[in-house]
Symmetry: none
Subunit: 225 residues, 2 copies
DNA sequence: CTTCAACAACGAGAATTTTCATTAAATGAA
DNA sequence: TTCATTTAATGAAAATTCTCGTTGTTGAAG
């Protein structure tokens, strides 16, 4: 799951990109219309953060093209104008959200997370990763069709990995996801180590492969190879 | 702590109001812009549930006025339009949440609870009930100035009682408050008995009076007499 | 005043979550 | 490479939360 940031002002762009990477997203950027188009043709992105005023063309045009070519990509529009007209224009053309500059990065984050969460939960309630299946409706997990008893925290952890497969998840973001509002940011997140260990043990014990790879210094990701 | 429901469709309004009263809230309503304004000038409400399309004026206007005049009141917007623009418009102007009709009452409940919980934690961070003091900033509780070690669930439970002193709280609403979204509605709520017992024991053991009165067949309330 | 049924209190223990101390592994610098 | 440092894994135990069976209470009906 990748995010493309299309923004010509380098300071803002760098801030957004490094912030998103810090959040555990895989993040690329484009500086103008042409670059953005090229990248969008080459890779699949879950979300495009799109500035409206771009060298080489209007962000609205890119949005229209994007929505025609690939409608599985979310779009968050950035604009220097707090014009209702612009806003409606953008949202009518299929953007998922609209943010006026200047904004706080935290605001951007929460909107990005909201878009991605919305896109993820659409579709079926069953997540499948090779022999592992997770069914939200029954809150059940099976490996090779055999049920695996998981505690709530383990279930949530596995779910988080399966939603974000191939993406690196930091201890911090995992803790935030597992504990919701109850998280104590002053504390350390070492208890995640234990949950990871327990989940891995239960998966392998029930005949599953350990797809949870450690990314040293970063976090973990669930992946095949 | 009172909630004002501003909604002109009488069926929906009645449903919301009786539902909220059932939840233990003190609840009033207004049918149009003018009535809403009058009530808001007269009484203090913790939360306004606000329909956007109102006879006599737009809910957005009321929201803007409300946020200018009294910014200690939470606002949850109801709208028949699932328009992102509306949503952003509302949230930008200071609403705390936004719900599109039609919705389940349970959805409304959990959002209302969330807003109220959030608002409670803002503001003055110390709650006092005779010899018992609860300080959010340090997540600490003292009885006669002596610290009392409480677990998170006990702390949240005591907090819930102190926020709602003299009001009867049902097992169900307590469970919902303690467990947030994690609540399993199919289950029974007997574990509340244990938390009540443990909290009472800790309070009396540390020299506090047991203000948590059992209301047979109803629930519990925290009160002096 | 009894009896009954629903509700609440309680203790004990099971399950889960979290902490902690120790060991192992990975990385970058010397 | 080796060393030092940071990061991760692990087992064990502490703390917390939840379940369950038993006992006690309450209020309504007879």
């Amino acid at each position: 799951m990748k995010i493309l940031v299309v923004e010509d002002e380098s300071d803002l762009r760098d801030a957004i990109v490094s912030n998103l990477i810090g959040q555990g997203y895989i993040c690329e950027f484009a500086e103008d219309y042409r670059q953005a188009e090229d990248k969008l043709l080459l890779y699949e992105y879950a979300l495009v953060v799109l500035d409206i005023q771009l060298p080489g063309g209007s962000g609205f045009d890119l949005l229209r093209w994007l929505k025609k070519e690939m409608n599985n990509t979310g779009v968050l529009i950035l604009s220097a104008f707090d014009s209702l007209d612009h806003k409606i224009n953008g949202l009518d053309r299929g953007a998922d959200d609209y943010l006026t500059k200047p904004f706080h990065l935290s605001e951007l984050n929460s909107r990005i997370n909201a878009i991605i969460r919305r896109r993820i939960y659409v579709g079926s309630s069953t997540l499948i990763f090779n022999e592992i299946e997770l069914n939200h409706e029954y809150r059940s997990v099976t490996i090779n069709r055999e049920p695996v008893p998981l505690t709530k925290k383990e279930y949530d952890l596995l779910n988080y990995f399966m939603i974000n497969k191939k993406r690196v998840l930091t201890k911090e973001s995992i803790a935030e996801h597992l504990c919701g509002d109850d998280i104590d940011l002053a504390n350390n997140f070492d208890f995640i180590y234990t949950h990871i260990k327990n989940l891995r043990q239960k998966i392998t014990k029930h005949g599953g492969e350990d797809y949870i790879k450690t990314v040293y210094g970063m976090g973990y990701k669930m992946t095949d190879r």
